[in-house]
């Protein structure tokens, strides 16, 4: 199997699994209980909180554990919007956010908030001047992702955040895709809120975190017990949180070297594709881009067909086209960077991870040209293009 869909999810690192497993069995206690197995679980959760905080340069008491990255985004947007309703009902997001942000913003619109969607340039970058112009006296939150999940473009978050702060507006960034691939420091970026997810960094599914800068006013989404200092009720997912902590610790230790290796593999894949397949377009920023991601449009054919043909040969990637979802619309990200819908439909995202090797890349470069030419043979546009020549 050649797994090139690490932006979708990653396998759990064995060291993470080993750290988690006692908390499913002998150390199964509820952190809220007073006796020893409860205290043991509580200590493990707090240790994990410290490790996740370290990954982003935060203080442990600024980290709230959630159920997933989407919940973190929901909490950031709704929690801040609800806590600042008296001040204003306007929020700003970029047009290439993950659906966890976009659909939360759309929900807020439905219940009476106003949302401005910032455009991006052809590489997927938000212009800080656009943000400056969009901020109003009633703006309560700006949410712009650190790195895009589909094309990997890295936003100038530090600059965007300072534009936001100049006007006294809180700033959230979705760092779900950036974590473990970029060094993140909340102090350096200046952000007030930042979303994370464990399963993108070789941790388990079902656990995320939201960094909330000390003093930030925010409402909880889930009311109940006093867990997470009243900011997120519900018995903690202890094993999941411990796994997240371990994954964060490993990411911090190994990232620097790993990122160089992965970028080399990604470049080898990208160059190889550009060399052996004609009429392809690389999407995203040429430099300001996640080291593991390449999003490529194969003109004249459709992405889902490419994905399925690759999968039948044991190579797993994903499509930028949302063809498999109910909407049948091409990816909103690819539309926002100005691709035509037909080219957008022909896009594939390859996202590498720490378990990929040079052999994986070579195998993909062996199979992919055949898959593409096979589908092009079937396409009316390919033939027409060749006739026009």
């Amino acid at each position: 199997m050649v797994y090139l869909d690490n932006n979708a999810t990653t396998p759990v690192d064995r060291r993470v699994y080993e750290a988690m497993s006692p908390y499913l069995f002998e150390k199964f206690g509820n952190p809220s209980t007073l006796y020893s197995i409860g205290a043991e679980a509580r200590a493990a959760v707090e240790e994990a909180r410290k490790r996740v905080a370290d990954l982003v340069g935060a203080r442990p008491d600024e980290i709230v554990f959630t159920g997933c990255g989407s919940e973190s985004d929901n909490m950031a947007l709704k929690g801040v919007a609800f806590a600042h309703m008296e001040r204003g009902k306007h929020i700003i997001v970029s047009s290439i956010e993950h659906h966890a942000v976009l659909n939360t913003a759309a929900y807020l619109e439905k219940i009476g908030f106003e949302v401005t969607y910032l455009p991006v340039d052809r590489h997927g970058l938000v212009d800080p001047d656009d943000l400056r112009r969009a901020i109003r006296s009633d703006t309560v939150l700006v949410s712009i992702m650190l790195a895009n999940n589909e094309i990997g473009t890295i936003q100038p978050v530090k600059e965007l955040c300072s534009v936001s702060h100049e006007k006294g507006v809180l700033f959230h960034t979705d760092a779900v895709q950036a974590a473990g691939k970029l060094r993140i420091d909340v102090e350096e970026l200046g952000v007030d809120l930042l979303s994370l997810s464990a399963h993108k960094i070789y941790g388990p599914k079902g656990v995320g975190a939201l960094y909330i800068r000390k003093g930030t006013k925010i409402h909880p989404l889930i009311h109940g017990g006093h867990q997470e200092r009243g900011r997120r009720a519900g018995t903690e997912n202890v094993a999941g949180i411990v796994g997240f902590g371990k994954a964060a610790e490993i990411a911090l230790q190994e990232m620097e070297e790993e990122v160089v290796r992965i970028a080399e593999l990604r470049d080898r894949l990208e160059m190889g594709i550009l060399e052996c397949i004609e009429d392809v377009i690389v999407n995203g920023h040429p430099e300001k881009r996640l080291p593991n991601t390449t999003n490529i449009s194969f003109c004249y054919i459709e992405g889902e067909a490419i994905i399925l043909k690759l999968a039948s040969r044991g190579i797993y990637a994903s499509t930028g086209s949302a063809c498999s979802s109910d909407t049948l619309e091409p990816s909103h990200v690819l539309m926002a960077i100005g691709l035509s819908p037909e080219v957008g439909h022909g896009s594939v995202r390859f996202s590498l991870g720490k378990f990929n090797t040079a052999d994986d890349v070579d195998r993909t470069l062996e199979v992919l040209p055949e898959v593409v030419s096979n589908l092009r043979e079937m396409s009316p546009f390919w033939r027409r293009k060749n006739v026009q020549r």
């Binding site: 067909a305 063809c323 091409p330 079937m378 396409s379």
Partner: protein, 129 residues
């Protein structure tokens, strides 16, 4: 998500390509929406003797094109016109709801190819008269 039949047709599509001297060509769909189908037919004595396709689209669109060309080969024009998208989907062992439009595209493709054939024949008759 897809039935074995869809995957089988997608992986090994039948009747791919262009018929250079086709008697009718149907072009349906739109690449903006993610799929476009070109259906070519060759007609002899009121019967479809050959049928081929070229498709830009997802697995369901390619499988629908493939199975439909199989279904109408050897059929009379009248019989071919009766093929519905439901029949196409059934022949594929079902399609996911959001992919049903692919079978509809195949039905429309056949109809468009036959209409084109009729139009050409009428033109030919007028010229001959």
């Amino acid at each position: 998500m897809y039935s074995d039949k869809v995957i089988e047709h997608f992986m090994h599509p039948r009747n791919v390509g262009k018929i250079e001297d086709a008697d009718g060509v149907g072009k349906v769909g739109n690449p903006v929406c993610g799929d476009e189908m070109w259906i070519y037919i060759k007609v002899k004595d009121g019967k479809i003797v050959d049928c081929r396709f070229e498709t830009f689209g997802c697995a369901a669109a390619i499988a629908s094109s493939s199975v439909t060309t199989e279904m109408i080969k050897g059929k009379t024009i009248e019989e071919a016109l009766k093929i519905t998208n439901k029949a196409v989907a059934e022949a594929l062992g079902g399609l996911p709801p959001q992919k049903m439009h692919c079978s509809l595209l195949a039905e429309q493709g056949i109809k468009a190819a036959i209409e084109d054939y009729m139009r050409r024949r009428k033109k030919g008759e007028e010229k001959g008269a």
